[in-house]
């Protein structure tokens, strides 16, 4: 049943602050069992009679076999839902659905893999790094953020990977600039065969452009506002080019969030590309 999502009432095990982030470990056996790197979960927020209806999506940072299976999420407080989540305490119940989405595809043969994480996007890459190393892949990291407190996982990346390059926009840690700026150099240094990236859409677009230039395959984990996370609402679509060369408005939650970078039309985000399947033409119901 790997991959088939379940809805569970988990129990918060621990809450920690990690710089600008909250790390939450939840006992959620059915989800931990089925997890593969790149999966995400959705969380019901606000408690009974809340006015915040929609679930919030989070990458799974880690799963552990403890207590039958735990999942760890790492998040920043943005709006109402994440503020509520940050207030949870050990033993609180938490309603989770997962694992969701298409996980990162792993190379069949050992390869040199460069993992690029910007902001909280970094959180989802560590389970991937583990899986890659188990397959005897070389793993390198590029982690970046606006400021040093938002570079997630630098220590762990340094410990586990061959190299870990850090960037901050304000220069407070590592190289001043973005992960995209250092990418060509790091790719050259690490002889990367493949790049995996997670972070804001603009960053993913930049990473994809660099990889395309250097003709290296890149897998990106995209983000789009999600109302359901399970493929029924059609709010999370991204213009993605299919195997047949046709661009379709493709659901990030079930057909992604991981896509081959060059398939995502980053330049056309927030639009319906004129050549997309079903793009406005004759028929215009609401």
């Amino acid at each position: 049943m790997a991959g088939s999502p379940v809805q569970v009432t988990g129990t918060v095990l621990t809450m920690r602050r990690v710089d600008a982030y909250h790390a939450m470990t939840v006992v959620a056996p059915g989800i931990a069992d089925r997890f593969r790197p790149g999966h995400f979960v959705t969380v019901a927020v606000g408690g009974p009679r809340t006015s915040t209806l929609t679930r919030r999506a989070f990458a799974v940072h880690d799963v552990k076999p403890d207590y039958g299976g735990t999942v760890e999420l790492v998040f920043t407080v943005r709006g109402a839902g994440t503020a509520w989540l940050a207030d949870r305490r050990a033993r609180d119940p938490l309603d989770l659905i997962g694992p969701l989405g298409r996980p990162f595809p792993l190379p069949r043969d050992p390869a040199s893999c460069l993992l690029v994480g910007s902001e909280y996007g970094a959180a989802g890459l560590f389970a991937l790094a583990d899986a890659l190393q188990q397959r005897n892949c070389r793993v390198d990291f590029v982690l970046g953020a606006a400021s040093s407190d938002r570079v997630f996982g630098a220590l762990r990346a340094r410990r586990m990977a061959e190299t870990a390059t850090l960037t901050t926009r304000d220069g407070s840690l590592g190289v001043r600039g973005s992960v995209v700026d250092v990418l060509p150099g790091v790719i050259a240094d690490t002889h990367a065969d493949v790049v995996y990236a997670a972070g804001p859409m603009a960053t993913l677009g930049g990473v994809t452009a660099v990889c395309a230039d250097l003709d290296i395959p890149v897998q990106v984990s995209v983000e789009e506002l999600m109302a359901c996370g399970i493929g029924v609402c059609m709010t999370c679509t991204v213009p993605v080019i299919g195997d047949d060369g046709v661009t379709r408005m493709t659901r990030a939650c079930v057909d992604g969030p991981v896509f081959r970078g060059e398939r995502v039309r980053f330049g056309d985000l927030g639009t319906i590309p004129f050549d997309a399947h079903g793009a406005p033409g004759g028929d215009r119901a609401r």
Binding site: P5, V232, T235, T237, G270, G278
Partner: protein, 319 residues
Amino acid sequence: MPADMRTYLAHVELPNPILTAAGCAGTGRELAPFADVTRLGALTTPTITMSPRAGRPTPRMAETPSGLLNAVGLQGPGIEAFLSRELPWLAERGVRTVVSIGGGSVAEFSALARKLTGAPGVTALEVNLSCPNVEDRGRVFARDPSAAGEVVSAVRTGARYDLPVIAKLAPDVADVVAIAKACVDGGAEALSMINNPVGMAIDVDRMRPALAAGTGGLSGPAIRPLAVKAVWQVHAALPGTPVIGMGGVTSGRDALELVLAGACAVAVGTVLFHDPYAGHRVLRELEELLQERGFDRLADAVGLAHRPSHRTDREESSL
């Protein structure tokens, strides 16, 4: 003894009154890992259009207090792909399927009805009147009694006689009863309400509309009072017409509210995004509530809140 939950949409019997709302249950496949969709009263498809539609640009959603704004824009594969790839999956499993249809003109609606006639596995057609009429400067059919009636009658004529036609009404009209009557006169055997009223949110950080499309449809518990009102008014005016009530149902109590107002079936929409198992949960809760209240049959509760009131009611309740 549990209440008899059977209900009827025209001559079609459903084993229970809980449906999914159009556009909220995907193609059926997506819900299947969470809940047995064959056990629903029926599943309603997203609105199917003639041609494939890419829908609206993102952002397509915004959360509002107890509500959700969406501007998906009827993204879908078009009728041919629906018939070849989506309907068969439902039909094979025996999922009772209400097919929602939408078009930009009367002719398009009628063509869709013809294409769906005879397709195996179609339980009823639901006419999504919240579609802009390209022949009337994009004014939606649901806002104009004569346009609404015309569309319904074209669908009724296009579809086989034994396929019930349901007209789906929007709440943001001056007089929902007038639209309902026009639809029934046009041949609708049942009515479903409410579709999303149009709403809007502004992102105060970007200082732009939160949705790329500007406006969107409001759904969720926030609109339940509008749904109860619409069902109540239409049931009062057309007590013989079956009504599928929807709008913000999250629990058996919410479903019972719509039933007592006059709905003989209730659809769950937005709540599925929060709880994919909600249809089955709402059904179980509704069964329990009916049993607690001593009902033998769901049918006896339909519209019951309309019974004349007695002065003593109030005092009993405050004891």
